[in-house]
């Protein structure tokens, strides 16, 4: 069952991102929002980990959070707005928010 994982915690304060990437199935997707988009910080281990994820795993980031933090989006990720977030929730069978 394909799951959309939603992460909003900064990857520099806890290990949620690492745990999430470890359990992410090939058909699953990850949406970064809030402080979780700091994983896109250039030169960081977190960004490298995201870029090393298999092609079949879709990676997304919420556009307003990327813009608010002045980060540049790596080609590996797709930017979505709230409409896109809703569409992803429909596309995947389950939405799992890392609270």
């Amino acid at each position: 069952m394909a799951t959309l994982h939603v992460l909003s915690h900064s990857p520099f304060t806890d290990s949620r991102l690492g745990s999430c990437l470890r359990i992410l199935g090939s058909q699953d997707a990850l949406l970064l929002c809030g402080d979780a988009v700091y994983a896109l910080q250039a030169g960081s281990v977190q960004r490298q980990a995201l870029e090393l994820m298999p092609e079949s795993t879709a990676l997304f980031a919420l556009d307003e959070d990327v813009q608010a933090r002045g980060l540049d989006l790596p080609a590996r990720l797709t930017q979505v707005d709230y409409c896109g977030f809703v569409a992803l929730s429909c596309q995947y069978d389950k939405v799992n928010t890392w609270l």
């Binding site: 909003s8 809030g34 409409c83």
Partner: protein
């Protein structure tokens, strides 16, 4: 698509604004929200006593307007609400408290409502944390 939306974070957490923007986008996209369920610190967003600075986002106010305009089923967890001092008139009277701060369109009810919402909806989307 039918959505059930659960909110766990207080009004000042960015995730609670994200929940509202998601709910608005879902309705704008022609989807149905079968129930909003406010749990844990999320109950503060249903309080009518929250006062925001004029130049700041009034999230509890925006939620109220959204729920009223869309005629949504807005349920607040009663156990989480009581322990955080969020009471409707009936509960204020029951526990002899001097004021009530939970009004329509919100309704106090139990966790069973979240369970039922997940059965009624195609997707449960939770918002919490930062």
């Amino acid at each position: 698509m039918k959505f059930a939306i659960a909110l766990f974070s207080p009004p000042h957490a960015p995730s609670s604004r994200r929940a509202l923007r998601f709910a608005e986008a879902a309705v704008a996209g022609g989807h149905q929200i079968v129930r909003l369920f406010f749990y844990q610190d999320g109950v503060h967003s249903a309080s009518s006593n929250v006062v925001c600075a004029q130049d700041e986002l009034d999230l509890p106010g925006e939620w109220r307007e959204f729920v009223q305009a869309q005629h949504l089923d807005g349920v607040v967890c009663i156990a989480a609400a009581l322990r955080r001092g969020v009471l409707n008139a009936e509960e204020a009277q029951r526990y002899t408290r001097s004021a009530a701060n939970l009004n329509l369109p919100w309704e106090l009810s139990g966790l069973g409502q979240l369970h039922e919402a997940t059965q009624l909806a195609d997707r449960l989307v939770c918002f919490g944390g930062p």
